[in-house]
Structures are given as structure tokens and as C-alpha cells.
């Protein structure tokens, strides 16, 4: 049962990331990779809201709770990505776009942590 839920969430998350990032990058011809920033920030914020809302249900049993497996591990986990982030950052470095390189890393890493924290506190305090 948990395998099916994780696979379902993961496939939906990955497919939605592809659709959203291709729509966003089609609108933007700039060399700065805004699409993956948007996807990662959206996913980190989304996971914060999700964990915050279901906090009572999922605390201390993350890996046995079906709703967390489907949405937390599956959907939000697969919707966001670290591999594309690292590759794009390396690409900026290769093209000697040092300012964009640091901006990209800063926006993604601190942005996703800050957005997660804010949205996590939303239903908690």
C-alpha cells in the first residue's frame, strides 16, 4: 500500500515539475534559471504548510503515516529537486556568470529554508 502511495505521489510530483518548469522557462529567455527556483521554493513552502497542517497526525511516525508518505515523501519530495539545481549552478559557474551563480544558490537554499519555516509556523503559532 505504501509503495503505491509513494510511487503515485512521486510520479505526479515529477510530471508536474516538468510541466511547470517548461511553461515557466518558455516565457523567459533569460539565462538565469528562474523556473527551478520557482519550483523548489513552491515545493519547500508547500511541504511546510502540509507538515504544519497534519502535524498532530504525522509527528513521530513520519515513515508509517500514509498521508505523509504520499504527499511529503512522494509529491513534494519529487516535485522539488537538488540534482537539477546543482547542475544549473555548475552551468552558471562554467559560463563565468559568478554573480548569477551566487544569487542562484542564495535564492534557492535560503529561500527554501525560510519559506519552509514560515509556512511551517503558519498552523503552529
Amino acid at each position: 500500500m505504501s509503495t503505491v502511495l509513494i510511487a503515485l505521489g512521486g510520479s505526479l510530483g515529477a510530471a508536474l515539475r516538468y510541466v511547470l518548469s517548461s511553461v515557466l522557462s518558455a516565457r523567459n529567455s533569460h539565462k538565469f534559471p528562474t523556473a527551478i527556483i520557482a519550483v523548489n521554493l513552491l515545493g519547500a513552502g508547500g511541504l511546510g504548510f502540509f507538515i504544519s497542517y497534519y502535524y498532530e497526525t504525522i509527528t513521530y511516525s513520519f515513515y508509517t503515516c500514509n498521508i505523509y508518505l504520499c504527499f511529503g515523501v512522494g509529491f513534494f519530495g519529487a516535485f522539488t529537486t537538488f540534482s537539477t539545481f546543482s547542475l544549473e549552478a555548475i552551468g552558471l559557474l562554467q559560463r563565468k556568470e559568478y554573480n548569477y551563480f551566487f544569487l542562484y544558490i542564495f535564492l534557492t537554499i535560503f529561500g527554501s529554508i525560510v519559506l519552509f519555516s514560515i509556512s511551517f509556523m503558519f498552523f503552529q503559532y
Binding site: 515529477a14 511541504l47 522539488t80 546543482s86
Partner: protein
């Protein structure tokens, strides 16, 4: 349009496999308060995507296979949302030093792994440039 449906299907299959692999690593590698499994996943996934990108400089793969592996499998295997959640919880429950350790290890590790994977992949791709990938199966 038919090709697009194929691509989406490949991404969904890859995403499901990557996510399941990540889940099983999480359950089996989780041994202290540091999310070791997530570190391993993000570093390994970055290496693999770097390798694929380097390989694709020299070799032609069908579109669905590129997307299924790169966007689906490696994209689904690595995760930014869990990384953010982990950093926050280490910061809140343990110490800011440990959160900073986790953050910098993942960030610099993943960037280095992506670069190494890219170099290795493009070397292997250049060496096997004239070979067809069907030929290597014979």
C-alpha cells in the same frame, strides 16, 4: 503531442522509481539526528545527473530516455523540500552549528559531485563517441 505524452509518461515512471528508491534509503540509512540518507541521495543524484549531462554532449539518447532519467529518476531521487525541512528541524531541535554543517555539506558536496559527474560523463562519452549504444549490447 504523442511524443509529449510519451515524455510525460517516462518522467512519471522515472519519478516514481526515484521516489521509491529515496524512501527505501531513508528508512534503511536513518541512524542519527543527521539525515544521512538525504545527504547521500542529493550527492549521488547530482553526480548521476552530471554524468548524464556530460554523456549527452557526445551521445544521442532518445528524448523520452533523457527526460525519464534526468527529470524523472534523478529529479525524483533528489529533493529540495526535505532538505529545507531537515535544516529547519536540526536548527530548531539541535543546534545552529549542526544545521550549518548539514547545509554546507549538502550544498558543496552536491555541487562538487555534479561537476565530477559531468567531467566523468563527458570523458566516457568522448571515448565511446563512435560506438552505438545498441552495438554495446551485442
Amino acid at each position: 503531442m504523442a511524443a509529449k505524452i510519451n515524455n510525460l509518461f517516462a518522467i512519471a515512471i522515472g519519478g516514481a522509481l526515484g521516489t521509491l528508491l529515496r524512501y527505501h534509503l531513508n528508512v534503511n540509512l536513518f541512524f542519527d539526528f543527521m539525515p544521512n540518507a538525504t545527504i547521500v541521495e542529493n550527492l549521488a543524484g547530482s553526480f548521476c545527473l552530471g554524468f548524464l549531462t556530460g554523456l549527452l554532449l557526445h551521445k544521442k539518447f532518445p528524448e523520452w530516455l533523457k527526460l525519464g532519467l534526468g527529470v524523472g529518476l534523478f529529479g525524483g531521487f533528489t529533493t529540495m523540500s526535505t532538505f529545507a525541512a531537515d535544516t529547519f528541524s536540526i536548527f530548531a531541535l539541535h543546534s545552529s552549528i549542526d544545521a550549518l554543517k548539514y547545509l554546507s555539506f549538502t550544498l558543496f558536496g552536491a555541487l562538487a559531485m555534479a561537476a565530477i559527474g559531468f567531467v566523468v560523463g563527458s570523458c566516457i562519452g568522448a571515448r565511446n563517441k563512435n560506438k552505438n549504444w545498441e552495438d554495446s549490447l551485442r
